[in-house]
């Protein structure tokens, strides 16, 4: 028996075509990039044969190592710190009596999402220049970590807050009813249920930090080259498929990280 169904967008004429075009536009360039990382020739536009040699070159490349190390130090630290800040902020803005300035605080946290990144970059640069000039302070790579942490917070904040708002408040009442102190209730009920949100927040923060270019480019000092900066510097020279290999590695790391956090989130969400 054919059940009468609600409208299914998949049945609309042309849906398939449009969907395929969108997917192609999105993924063909990435696919080409990945394919040419296997090119045995030294051009990124002319296919000659298959080799894994460029990956070998990349893995032996000291500069690539340094850039990867910097990127990981910065991204991982920024992800952890910004996720903690975002979690605290989200709890402070959903699990308390409404306080004066709540709306303003919400604005302040989310504002960086609306400010053009180049503005943030210039502002951050001037800020660190000022600190260095007035107090003679320079935190080295700490500058970058600080800058990344700050702009990652709103990205981490959004999914955590969404999860908190979706969560059934009655569960926390039930915990209190069953003799859990506010701290135990948070640790045993709210926090475990918040894990999917925290994982999504952390994944977002990591991706945003991992591939940040604009702010890093302006703030980075000598010896603080990150992977995006390194790639940028390389493509200004004659390009070899090594860049494709490095980009592919970057992409894999991103995909791996997002998949892992997605899997954890899904397991906990059940």
């Amino acid at each position: 028996m054919a059940e009468p169904r609600v409208m299914d967008i998949k049945d609309q004429p042309g849906f398939r075509t449009i969907a395929i075009i969108c997917l192609l536009v999105l993924y063909v360039p990435v696919l080409i990039l990945m394919i040419f990382s296997l090119n045995s020739g030294s051009l990124v536009t002319h296919w000659e044969g298959v080799t894994l040699g460029w990956y070998g070159t990349a893995f032996l490349n000291e500069e690539f190592h340094a850039a990867a190390r910097n990127t990981l130090i910065i991204s991982v630290t920024a992800t952890i710190v910004s996720t903690i800040c975002a979690t605290l902020a989200a709890i402070g803005m959903t699990r308390v009596k409404p306080w004066r300035g709540l709306a303003a605080a919400f604005m302040v946290i989310n504002l960086p999402l609306m400010v053009p990144e180049i503005i943030t970059a210039v502002a951050t640069l001037s800020f660190f220049a000022l600190i260095a000039g007035v107090f003679g302070l320079n935190f080295g790579i700490g500058n970058l970590i600080l800058a990344h942490t700050v702009f990652c917070i709103p990205f981490a904040y959004m999914p955590i807050r969404a999860r908190l708002e979706d969560m059934d408040l009655t569960l926390e009442y039930a915990a209190a009813d069953l003799y859990a102190t506010p701290w135990s209730a948070f640790r045993r009920i709210t926090l475990p249920l918040l894990v999917p949100g925290i994982m999504s927040g952390a994944a977002l923060a990591f991706i945003v930090s991992f591939d940040d270019f604009t702010i890093t480019q302006l703030v980075a000092g000598p010896g603080q080259t990150t992977l995006p900066l390194y790639i940028w510097n390389q493509i200004r020279r004659p390009m070899t498929p090594e860049i494709n290999a490095i980009s592919t590695i970057l992409l894999m790391v991103s995909i791996l990280f997002v998949s892992v956090s997605f899997l954890i989130a899904r397991r906990r969400a059940k």
């Binding site: 009442y173 039930a174 915990a175 069953l178 003799y179 209730a185």
Partner: protein, 407 residues
């Protein structure tokens, strides 16, 4: 199965409960008479588990102010199955939340065994709640849910395990103890919620419409189950429902609420047979309302004349002085049909016959007009007369069938 269990649960003792004093015997309250919206409700002997004194709860400020509870006073006795009954939005959940400590009264006080519990946060009140939505912890198993309260009380692992096993048995969920709470049916979730709330042996159990999400048959089963549990554990139950039938069948006493006020407190029989107000009569069971005029009064019984000039004697609640035009209430089962219209106190035409299996409802369009009068007749194999719609019939009243009530 009850015996071993009863021994342990019959007298709930909470020796290691934090912050709740041991001096419950010290503050014994004198027996008093409570005033309830002007109606004097005599205090019965027996200790009170919960006393609500003049509690008001106002939500919102300025123009948007709502009094969810408007000066409510009620005493709930130990070991009592007490039901809060009222339509949606009348303040039932609000009252439970105040007792549980999730919210604070705007005015008034709440006593637990004679002690003011205002200073105690919810996690220090020896009161547990079965939430309307169950609120089971989705990331824990059935057994972990049930053990949570004991764990938070800092009980030893062995004790927790023994108690959880006992509770699982009590609610017949042993087979499913390792399941996630999202992997069990609604009725099973309901039982887990109940077991979780009972496990720490609270002095008072609050149940907020715990059966409303269940289908008819399961609800009937759980009603009996709940009664059994209350009997076996000896814990005071405060049960919220908007289902009058559920309230009548389960409760020791019922408080009927409307718009933030308690209108009447009494046993199911009191409430059903002697409703204090028109709202109570209308809300509980089916009721016929008949207009009439008081012609005389004597010792709590008024003689009321119908438009047809027939008269009937009708009782009325204490403290109410019916005069002039009044409304009489008559339960459908306290009236009967007679085939000869002249033999009835009032008469009319049969408009509708509705068959219910166990009984039949006759809707009579009265000669004097107004709402249809409903007569309920229990069906039996030997019903003497059969009626047909359109027939002229008379309606007779049983003795004491009619009451005059405040509008």
């Amino acid at each position: 199965m009850g015996i071993a269990f009863e021994n342990q649960l019959a007298a709930p003792q909470l020796p290691s409960r934090p912050a709740y004093g041991d001096n419950q015997t010290g503050t014994h309250l004198p027996e008093r008479a409570g005033s309830l919206n002007g109606v004097i409700v005599p205090e019965q002997p027996g200790k009170n588990a919960i006393e609500v004194r003049g509690v008001r709860k106002v939500f919102g400020t300025g123009e948007n102010q709502v009094a969810a509870l408007d000066t409510v006073s009620v005493s709930i006795r130990e070991n009592e199955f007490f039901t809060l009954l009222g339509p949606s939005g009348c303040g039932k959940t609000t009252l439970l939340r105040l007792i549980a400590g999730f919210d604070f009264p705007t005015a008034g006080e709440i006593l637990l065994h004679g002690q003011d519990i205002a200073p105690l946060p919810p996690f220090k009140r020896p009161v547990n709640t079965v939430f309307q939505s169950y609120a089971l912890f989705p990331h824990m198993t059935v057994a972990q849910n049930i053990g949570f309260g004991l764990e938070m009380l800092g009980k030893a692992r062995a004790e927790i395990e023994a108690r959880v096993a006992q509770m699982l048995k009590l609610v017949k969920m042993e087979a499913l103890k390792a399941r996630r709470t999202s992997e069990i049916s609604g009725g099973q979730q309901q039982r887990v919620a109940l077991a979780r709330a009972l496990a720490p042996q609270p002095k008072v159990l609050l149940l907020d419409e715990p059966l409303s999400a269940l289908d008819y048959k399961l609800r009937k089963e759980m009603q009996i189950e709940l009664k059994r549990l209350q009997h076996e554990t000896g814990i005071t139950f405060i049960f919220v429902t908007h289902d009058q039938e559920e309230a009548l069948t389960m409760s020791d006493r019922i408080a009927v609420m409307s718009a933030g006020k308690i209108l009447q407190v009494g046993t199911p029989r009191d409430i059903y047979d002697r409703p204090a107000e028109r709202f109570v009569a209308d809300f509980i069971g089916e009721t016929n309302f008949l207009p009439g005029t008081v012609v005389s009064k004597q010792a709590g019984v008024a003689t009321v004349k119908f438009a047809s000039s027939a008269t009937i004697s009708a009782g009325y609640p204490e403290g109410f002085d019916p005069t002039g035009e009044v409304t009489l209430v008559v339960r459908p089962e306290h009236a009967d049909l007679v085939p000869d219209p002249a033999k009835g106190t009032i008469a009319g035409t049969l408009a509708n016959i509705v068959y219910f299996g166990t009984d039949t409802h006759y809707h009579v369009k009265l000669d004097g007009g107004g709402e249809n009068f409903i007569v309920r007749h229990q069906n039996s194999r030997s019903s003497p007369v059969t009626y047909a719609t359109g027939a002229k019939v008379g309606i007779q009243f049983e003795e004491d069938a009619a009451r005059v009530l405040k509008d």
